[in-house]
Each structure stands twice: as C-alpha cells, then as structure tokens.
C-alpha cells in the first residue's frame, strides 16, 4: 500500500466517523422531542383532547340516573336521592320515587329559624315523581320534609358538600326579616376567583355555582318562564366577556345555550317580546380597537344577534375622563373607553338607557333611530370633539343635588307622579374620584358611594334628586367599582350592593387593576334599607386566606323556586344550542416553527373537544412567570398538513382559542403553541421573548 492510498483510507475513515456522529446527533435531536414535525412515534405519545359537551353530558347523566333508579323500587318513604345532579349547585338535590297517590308535593327545608325556612309546592300528577330540592345548607345533613297530596309526610336526609375553602365569607351585620323584602339574596361574583351564591336572611349560603367560570361579571336574571339566564363559561376576553348565555334552573339543568359571537358582559335583561337585551362588543372587537361599547338584542328563538347599538357612533370615544378602570398599558390594542355596564329598556319611551361608568354618563337613546334623548351626568369635560354632547345634558334643579360618578345599574322606577313627561331612575353612584380631572379627584379614603333616585323631566330637560342613601356611611360603603341598586316592589325597600371595596390595611384605595389581579383585597357590602333609610339587612363580605377576592358584582332579591323552571323530566328533553359561534381564523402572518424552542411554557385551564370544536383556555408563561403582554398562536400539525390559528389574547399570558376542526382535513393533529411575551407595559416596545411549546395533546379529525 503506497502512502497516498493509506492517506485516502485514513481520510475515508474520518469521513465515516464524521457521518456517524452527524447521524447520531440528528437522532439525538429527533429523540429529544425538540423537533415539531410529528411522526407516528411522537403522535402515539400524545394525549387525545377529551370530549366534553355540557348538553350531551347532562343528558347522559339523566339517563344514568334513570337507569339506576329503574333498577330498584323507590317509594315516597324511601326515595332515590341524587345530590347536585348536574354538578353545578352543590346545595341542590333531586328526589325520585313512585307513588300510588299522585298529586302536588309540599317541600319543606327547615332553616335555622322560621325566616330562613323554605317551603314550596311542586306540581305533580303522575305516579313517577321527581322532586327538585333547592336551598339546602352546605356541609350539612339537611332534614327535608315532603308532604304528598294525601297529607302523608316523610323526612329525607340529604347530606351536602362543605363550602370550598376559598369561598368568600358572608358576615351578617344586621337583619330584620320582618321588614325585609321576601326572598333570598343572589350575590353575583364579578371574577372567576369568587363564587356566585344565594344567601338567606342570616347570610347563610343556600346555593352556589361550583363552576366559577360561568355566571360572573354579568347580571343574572330570572326569565318570565322562571328559568335563570346567566353567562356561560367560555371567554372571549378576560375578565368577563363570555361567548354564551345559559338558560338553566337551580338544579343546574341547562335548557338552552345561546352562543353569542360578540360576547356578553355586565348586563342582560328580557324584553317584553321575550328577546334578550345585552351589553356586548363589536363582533370584531380585536380589530376595531375598542371594547364594551355595544348593546345588542338577541332573538330568543334563533339565538342570533338581530340588532346592535354601536355607541362609537353615538357618543365620543376620545373623551378621556380620569378614572381607575384601565391597566397602565401604553399603546393599548383595545381601548375600553365606555365600559358599558348596563342596558335597560324604557318601555314607556321606547328608549334604551345605557350606563358608561368611565364616562360617568347614563344615556338614553331612541330605540328606533339611536338618536340621543338625554345624558345624565356631570357637566365637566365636554370640550372639543365631545362639545356636541352638551346639548343633551340635563340641568339639575332642586336642593341637595349631587351628580353620580362611575355609576352602576340604573333602572327605571315605578311612575309615582303619573306625569308622562317624567322618568324616575335609581342607580348606584360609586362616586369614584368625583371629578373629571385628576387634579381635583377625591381620594378614596375621603370618598363615599351612595344609592340615589333621580327624577328626569324629559320636556324641560332637567333633573332632580329625590332620595339618597350611603353618603352618611362615609368610607364604610365606599366602593370604587362594581355594584347594584334595586327597588324592591313589595316593600318599596332598596337593595344596594357596594360591590368593589378595595382595601389595604382596611384603608380604602382605588387600585382596581391591582384588585382584579389579586394584589389587594376586594370586599363588598350589601345593604337593604326602607324608604326612610332604616337598615333592615346588612352583610359584609370578606376575603379568606385562599383568595383576596370577595367582591360582589350585583345582588338581586329573588324567589329561587319557580314551578315552571322544574317541569322537565329526566331523560326527555336534552338542552339545545342556538346562536352562532365566533371561531378563530387561520393566521397567515405566522409560519409554524419546525422545532420547539424558547422558554415559553403553556398551561391549560381548559382544553376540550366539543363536538369537533377545539376549545382552549391557556396561559403562556416565560421562565415560570406570567407577563402582562403576550400573544399566542395555536398550531395544529398532522404528518401532512399544518394550520396556524389566531387566538384571543388577554393580559397576563391568558389566551382563548375556539377552532372548528370540522373544516380541517381528516387526520390526527399534534397541538402546539407558538407564543411570545413582551417585557414592560408598552405594546410597541420592550424586549420580546418568543418560543414554541408542545402541549402534550393531539386531536383527531374524522
């Protein structure tokens, strides 16, 4: 062998070694899981997104209850009891049995005293009987008394779950049940870390929704058919813009889901024709640059949005009062200039009355033309582009008049002066700042909130203050944000909810954003007073070691039981879905990365396959923390095809995705998230950290 041949062999040997090393390195990279291109091997390791559809699962539960019920003989004296049958209200139960003496059944749930005892008659005329039992005490062996049509009585013991440890604390300050409006008090949470609860005159919890994602941040109403209507549990935007309404009863049975692509927040009401008036957004709120400035009417039968009232076209979105509602974000992509928190139908004047707390305005417009009738609010700050609105401002008359600031929950009072030219309103005047300008703003520690009744003379365009309560309580009742004011028909009492009381070391502060993010405590106070301002019910709501959040968005005095709401029988009527989805679109601006890189991690609050609709509620984290500004794209990748979807991005890394997979090619798709967080509070500058993270999930498209 000559020297050149030996040299060639030597070279060849090294080429082979180098190739082997490259191959090994490639294999290592492939096996390390950093390659985002799926293979049969990597797909096999992924978990399929769980199927979950509320209406189907509720119907399956009903059938399962029936199958177990039918396996044995249950009687009036020994009935079949299912606690919390729909996994929504742990203070409820369903009692089933056969009887030979059909007829109405009297249900009695003894309370701690006569005033907190509940009794109702459930209509029944069949041998098979389903009795809804509601308003049970939590964590208690409730002794429920049933009396059949023949007068026979039986005692059923129903044990309930204890309250969750993070439940807000209701402290009864005072109650005079004789003078109170009858019923129980529905306390609606504003954020998902509190519970929506029903309390009795002792401030004891007698019902609550264990699903904290639904029924918060928006009023809950009792429809004419007795059912409840509240927001569902899918977000379009935090903290309470929800993409559906649920019609349900206190057992938790959902009769109807209305999917609302605009999303609903703050307020809903039933119109005389049965349609639903709701506070909402532009359907494309992420491109219009504003939010919470639209009222909509939803057709009750189809669930479709049939009218929109866009207040960008009615008021002036650049008017910029001083207030504490906005997070300190520079160049915000979505400005909440109006923060509409109420929409009320004024039947007598065929008008729509809406409330903007950020603008300290209550505005009436004609329903047919959207022309402004009047604006109730202080006269400060109507200059330049908003000067044209001065023409609609009401002129105060009479003594002891005070304007409202950052108000909540205006509603029309009964007509007591029988003058067609006047309109009486009640509302909660939060009183935040009591000024348009920062320089003259009143400090929280010196401030007060109040419930107030006004009389508007529509012809003279004047306003008079009729009544108020709260000023005399000082900071005791000061709530920077949230709240409610209700006129109670039977007693003419007024129920006020001072809903968002921000406190640091018991001293009032106005830092709404810190409160919303859990940095400081949010408390609340519920007060019912007679027309002569005698307190007949007062409850202080406190935080607990698990959650600083004990806010109450609104309160309602309700009669929880309604016969009409419990007429359906198990296994006969599955809930129905109507309206329209607002699914995320493909994102053509983002290319799916081929490797998993960066320190971005994704956690899911929810991931489910709802009949082919992939629903994701996730959180982007960078190096173990969440950041105020971020963006996520969901990537579905099969062996053959890749789709990159937009998501709805929210603060602190939260994002929501709704993907209609039935439009995709058949296949098995790996799910990953490409995301980025930005340091600082400026959406246009600040260091960006990007990444592409696997999720461990796949979804199969048939």
């Amino acid at each position: 062998m000559n020297a050149s041949k030996a040299g060639q062999l030597h070279k060849m040997r090294w080429i082979i070694i180098a190739a082997a090393i490259i191959l090994l390195a490639l294999s290592a990279v492939l096996l390390s899981g950093k390659i985002a291109l799926p293979t049969k091997h990597t797909m096999a390791k992924l978990q399929e997104v769980p199927d979950d559809d509320l209406l189907s699962s509720q119907f399956e539960t009903e059938q399962e209850i029936l199958s177990h019920y039918e396996a044995s003989d249950y009687t009036f004296d020994a009935p079949f009891v299912v606690v919390d049958p729909y996994d929504l209200n742990p203070c409820s139960a369903l009692v089933l049995y056969e009887t030979t003496s059909p007829g109405d059944v009297r249900v009695m749930i003894p309370g701690k005293d006569e005033n907190s005892s509940i009794a109702y008659t459930h209509a029944s005329n069949t041998e098979y009987v389903e009795i809804p039992v509601i308003c049970l005490y939590p964590g208690t062996e409730n002794k429920v008394l049933l009396e059949d049509a023949a007068g026979h009585r039986t005692m059923v013991t129903i044990k309930t779950e204890p309250l969750p440890v993070d439940f807000q604390k209701y402290e009864l300050v005072y109650a005079d049940p004789v003078l109170m409006e009858p019923g129980m008090t529905l306390c609606i949470a504003c954020f998902e870390h509190s519970y929506t609860a029903l309390i009795d005159c002792n401030a004891d919890v007698r019902g609550y929704f264990s699903n904290q994602r639904m029924a918060h941040g928006t009023s809950i109403i009792q429809l004419k058919n007795g059912n409840l209507l509240a927001t569902g549990d899918n977000y379009k935007q935090v903290p309470y813009n929800m993409t559906s309404l649920w019609e349900f009863n206190w057992l938790g049975k959902v009769f109807r889901i209305y999917d609302i692509p605009n999303a609903v927040h703050h307020d809903i009401s039933e119109l005389p024709d049965g349609n639903i008036l709701a506070v909402s957004n532009n359907v494309d709120m992420f491109t219009t640059g504003t939010r919470e400035d639209v009222a909509i009417i939803i057709d009750r039968a189809s669930g479709n949005v049939i009218r929109t009232f866009d207040f960008r076209k009615i008021l002036e979105e650049t008017r910029d009062p001083y207030h504490h509602f906005h997070p300190d974000i520079v160049n915000p992509p979505n400005i909440d200039w109006m923060h509409m928190n109420a929409a009320v139908y004024d039947a007598e004047h065929n008008s729509l009355i809406v409330s903007s707390p950020t603008q300290s305005m209550v505005v009436s417009i004609l329903l047919d033309t959207s022309k402004i009738n009047w604006i109730l609010g202080p006269h400060e700050g109507y200059e330049n582009s908003s000067a044209y609105l001065k023409d609609y401002l009401l002129t105060p008359v009479g003594e002891n008049f005070e304007w409202q600031w950052c108000q909540h929950a205006p509603s029309v009072l009964p007509d007591t002066d029988h003058n067609p030219d006047t309109l009486d309103l009640i509302l909660l005047d939060n009183g935040q700042n009591k000024s348009f300008y920062q320089q003259t703003a009143v400090a929280a520690k010196d401030n007060y909130s109040r419930g107030v009744c006004y009389r508007i003379d529509l012809a003279a365009k004047t306003i008079e203050q009729l009544w108020e309560y709260g000023r005399e309580r000082g900071s005791d009742c000061y709530a920077t944000f949230l709240g409610d004011a209700d006129y109670l028909n039977r007693t003419q009492n007024r129920l006020f909810c001072f809903g968002g009381q921000l406190r640091v070391n018991d001293v009032p502060v106005d830092d709404i954003v810190e409160g919303v993010f859990g940095g400081i405590a949010i408390r609340s106070r519920i007060v019912e007073v007679t027309p002569d301002k005698q307190v007949v019910f007062e409850v202080a709501v406190h935080e607990n070691p698990y959650s600083p959040s004990s806010e109450t968005y609104q309160t309602e005095r309700i009669a929880p039981y309604s016969d009409e709401s419990f007429v359906s029988q198990l296994g006969l009527t599955p809930g129905i879905r109507c309206g329209a989805y607002d699914d995320n679109e493909l994102d053509g601006t983002v290319k799916a990365p081929n490797v998993f890189v960066g320190n971005i991690v994704v956690q899911f609050n929810r991931i489910q396959n709802e009949n082919g609709r992939l629903i994701i509620d996730g959180v982007l984290q960078y190096k173990g923390g969440t950041y105020m500004l971020g963006r996520a794209n969901v990537i579905l990748r099969s062996v053959d095809t890749t789709y990159v979807f937009q998501t709805y991005n929210a603060m602190n890394g939260r994002f929501f995705a709704y993907i209609d997979t039935t439009r995709l090619d058949s296949g098995v798709y790996q799910i990953s998230v490409a995301g980025a967080i930005r340091e600082g509070n400026d959406t246009q500058s600040g260091t960006i950290h990007k990444g592409h993270a696997p999720t461990g999930y796949k979804i199969t498209v048939p």
């Binding site: 294999s27 290592a28 096996l31 390390s32 177990h68 742990p90 309930t160 779950e161 440890v165």
Partner: protein
C-alpha cells in the same frame, strides 16, 4: 489531527448520551381494584405531604412580581395522605358508596377516615372527589386523610366496608 480526533470522540460521546437520555422513561403508578357489590374501588396511587403549598408568580406590567402563596397544614405530628382512587358503579342498583365506610388502616390496625373538608385539594391542583355519598357514575380523583407522621412510612391499607361486603387494598 489528535485534537480533531478528540473533538469528534467527545461529540460521539455527547451524541450517545443524548440518545440514551432521550430514550429514558417514567415508571407507572401501582393500581389495584376491588369489587364490592355494584361498586368497583380502584386504588391509583398516593402521596404523603407534610403540608401543601402553592405559589404563583405573576410579573406585572410595572415589572413588579406578584407572588400569591397559599398553604394548608395538618395538625402537629400528622401528615396529609392524598389517595387517588376511582370509584365506579358498574351495575344499576340502589346501593350507595358511603365515605363513612372508607378508611385508611395503619400497621397497628388504627383506622383514619377521610377529612371532613378536603376541598382545599382543588386549590393545590388535585382533582378532588365530592364528599357526599356516591350514587352513580365513575368518580376519579383524590381524597385526603390526616394520619400520624410515623405511620406514613409503615404499611398502610385502604379499607372499605358496607352492607354489600368489604375489601382491603394495600397502599404499600
């Protein structure tokens, strides 16, 4: 040339290590099932905790890190025993799964019942089973017991007794 050889050998070593590392796997939790009448009781694992702590760290726009800490501790000298079980009603029947019938038995024959309120489990990321008696369905989640610390390292059994029968599943 020697240096190149060494470098290549080093890379070869790194490659082999990476392959071995990537091929590593995780063990499976032990599981055992007992049938009592219409009910199947499956044990899917347990954890012993001196306390439970959760810590979230949210970096705000201001750059300030908001740290929320929650914790739950047993009585002094005790530990939490978190037991993951699956209770499933396999046949239609009138029978109920009573929590009062379920206990942990230690090596000395002492019995411990489920804590009266273990709803805090949810706050620490554990899917929890409801504490009302079960009437139907498949119920998969954690329940919590409080037992003496010295017993936690000794043999433990999950026992269930009802009118339909009884069973005992060894935890360790």
């Amino acid at each position: 040339m020697r240096l190149i050889k060494k470098t290549l050998l080093l890379w070869l070593g790194v490659g082999c290590f990476a392959v071995l590392f990537a091929c590593g796997g995780a063990g499976n939790a032990a599981s055992e099932t007992a049938t009592i009448g219409a009910w199947d009781l499956a044990f899917a694992g347990f954890q012993v905790k001196e306390d439970l702590r959760a810590d979230t760290n949210d970096v705000q726009y201001s750059g300030v890190s908001v740290r929320n800490q929650i914790s739950e501790s047993p009585d002094q000298g005790n530990v939490f025993l978190l037991v993951h079980i699956v209770v499933e009603k396999k046949q239609a029947s009138a029978t109920v799964f009573y929590w009062d019938g379920l206990s942990i038995q230690d090596a000395d024959g002492n019995n411990y019942h489920r804590m009266e309120n273990d709803s805090f489990l949810e706050n620490f990321g554990y899917e929890r089973l409801m504490s009302t008696d079960l009437t139907l369905g498949k119920n998969d989640g954690y329940i919590c017991f409080e037992i003496p610390k010295e017993e936690a390292s000794k043999p433990l059994s999950l026992c269930y007794q009802s009118d339909e029968g009884s069973c005992s599943i060894k935890l360790r």
